[in-house]
């Protein structure tokens, strides 16, 4: 369709990707880094794929890019949830700034009981 619109969408996507990777470097612990991964980088890549759709219009490449978006959403959310849960059960400490932890009791009782 329109090259200009495509370039604009891809640029917005790259800006969000830069912010997400900056968060990956700067934030203090695993859980906060996952926040930047699931939000900034996923939305940035979705924006890039929308840019591809703008370039090609509704032909085979554009539709494929459009259907990549829900795929990316579901895989990134489920992956982030699994990683956060795995890290907590593995025993990765929360950052020093953490205010409140209501999940501790459940994990402690489950580990003492011997069931996961």
């Amino acid at each position: 369709m329109s090259d200009l619109l495509g370039v604009i969408f891809i640029s917005i996507g790259i800006i969000f990707n830069i912010l997400g990777c900056l968060g990956l470097i700067r934030l203090p612990d695993v859980y906060n880094r996952l926040q930047s991964s699931t939000k900034c980088v996923t939305l940035g890549t979705c924006s890039i794929l929308l840019g591809v759709l703008m370039f090609f219009g509704f032909n085979s490449i554009g539709v494929k890019a459009l259907f990549c978006i829900p795929l990316l959403f579901f895989t990134s959310t489920v992956g982030a949830h699994a990683l956060a849960r795995g890290a907590y059960w593995f025993g990765v400490k929360l950052a020093d700034k953490t205010k409140i932890d209501e999940y501790k009791d459940l994990v402690k009782s489950a580990k003492e009981g011997g069931t996961a």
Partner: protein, 161 residues
């Protein structure tokens, strides 16, 4: 009946992904979707009867737009926190309760929470969700529940229950 619907859905996705209406492509797609449903159909838990009710599709479209708006706000929020020099984050894990009953609705709620302002669902036990929040506001638990799940719960209830 149930397996027929699954096969049709899988075949539709095949056609959209390959985008090609030649006869060989259609035959290969049918064989692959039937094989997929034979092997994996028993793991798919959605209630097929609800697919025939048009009001649910209307609420689904409304929900997609609300979700996209919330998602955009979430991104700007997280980006704002990352760009600050001293990073104003106060992370924590809070408990919230949900009123949804079916598995599909709860899974959708958990995925929606993961994509919105600074929250990740860590675990779910019966009707309690454990949510990691990048900025926990000071307040009482009912207020948390309203802020985390209140925006989506009513729409998801209309779509899936």
């Amino acid at each position: 009946m149930k397996y027929l619907v699954y096969t049709l859905i899988a075949f539709g996705f095949w056609l959209l992904f390959t985008f090609n209406l030649s006869i060989q492509n259609i035959i290969v797609g049918l064989v692959i979707s039937i094989l997929t449903v034979v092997f994996l159909g028993s793991y798919f838990v959605a209630d097929v009867g609800k697919l025939g009710q048009p009001l649910r599709y209307y609420w689904f479209i409304v929900y997609v737009f609300i979700f996209a708006w919330e998602c955009l706000k979430a991104n700007l929020d997280v980006a704002y926190r990352i760009l600050q020099v001293n990073m104003p984050i106060e992370p924590g894990i809070v408990k919230v309760k949900t009123v949804l009953k079916t598995d599909v609705a709860r899974a959708t709620l958990a995925n929606s929470i993961t994509m919105t302002p600074g929250t990740i669902t860590i675990d779910m036990k019966d009707d309690t969700l454990f949510v990691h929040w990048i900025y926990v506001p000071s307040g009482n638990p009912t207020e948390y529940t309203h802020q985390v799940v209140g925006r989506f719960e009513k729409y998801i209830k209309k779509i899936f229950e």
